[in-house]
């Protein structure tokens, strides 16, 4: 294995650990007073976005899967499927955003698109679980998801600035 590959694996591991720790912390903070019930800001998405931007697209997918596996162990199969569906949809969209020519989108764009796709995928899974009534929750998810995406995008920008200081 060459050095670059080892480096990428190590970085993916670190970012996975970071994603798990952040989502764990996030679940401890009651957010229902600020956000609609069941919603989270999704700060762990910052880890997958950092992976997509600095390591590789494969790394971003790996971090997403590892994060969901942790959900499987701690919160069961249903939560795992929700996490995986949201995560994969979100990371795919973010990868597409970063691949777009001339870098038309900034960090906020990536955060917002990631959040929207995350929510869309989860609503789809929820509609199987509880039925189509969940679609009535879409307006809330769209508006607050966009706000959350702006926030995670801003955090991504600051993290990128700090990580690439020496370059």
């Amino acid at each position: 294995m060459n050095r670059k590959r080892l480096e990428n694996i190590a970085k993916s591991g670190l970012l996975s650990a970071f994603a798990i720790a952040v989502s764990l912390l996030e679940s401890l903070v009651p957010s229902s007073s600020l956000l609609p019930p069941g919603m989270k800001v999704g700060f762990s998405n910052v880890a997958t976005m950092i992976a997509a931007k600095n390591v590789s697209f494969a790394s971003a997918f790996a971090v997403t899967v590892v994060k969901s596996l942790f959900v499987l162990i701690t919160r069961g199969v249903t939560a795992f499927l929700l996490s995986l569906a949201g995560g994969l949809c979100s990371v795919s969209a973010v990868v597409l955003i970063f691949r777009s020519r001339k870098g038309r989108f900034g960090c906020v764009g990536a955060g917002v698109v990631g959040a929207a796709c995350h929510n869309a995928a989860q609503v789809a899974v929820y509609s199987v679980i509880v039925g189509g009534a969940i679609f009535w929750y879409l307006p809330y998810l769209l508006v607050f998801g966009t706000l959350c995406g702006i926030l995670t995008g801003a955090v991504l920008y600051l993290a990128e600035k700090a990580l690439n200081k020496d370059k």
Partner: protein, 124 residues
Amino acid sequence: MKNKLISKADVILVLALAAVGVLLFILFSRGGGKTAIIEYDGKTVKEIDLENAKEEYSFEVEGDLKVVFTVTKDGIRFSASECPDGICMDFGVISRPGQIAVCAPARVSVRISGDEKNVDGVTG
């Protein structure tokens, strides 16, 4: 890859998504009626006319888990649930058309329909 906080495309994106959200919100909250539609597994199990609710009362719905609804003159809410997270109760009292409260572990939901009567069974 260049690090950029926000671009013109981002602003358009944010405004578009927020606009769709607000538009759906307005669309969903139409109607002057106040009917609570309770669903389990995607099927309507109970419809309650909230406008004529005077006395406060509670009733159980058997989903995958047991949940309790309470109807007051202000609206309807999940007042108890066997679910571990209690997110359904976080929704609080809902009363306006378009509002929804969900208990995913029990697979039970309640939403307010704005239709005056003859509730459209297709939606949802």
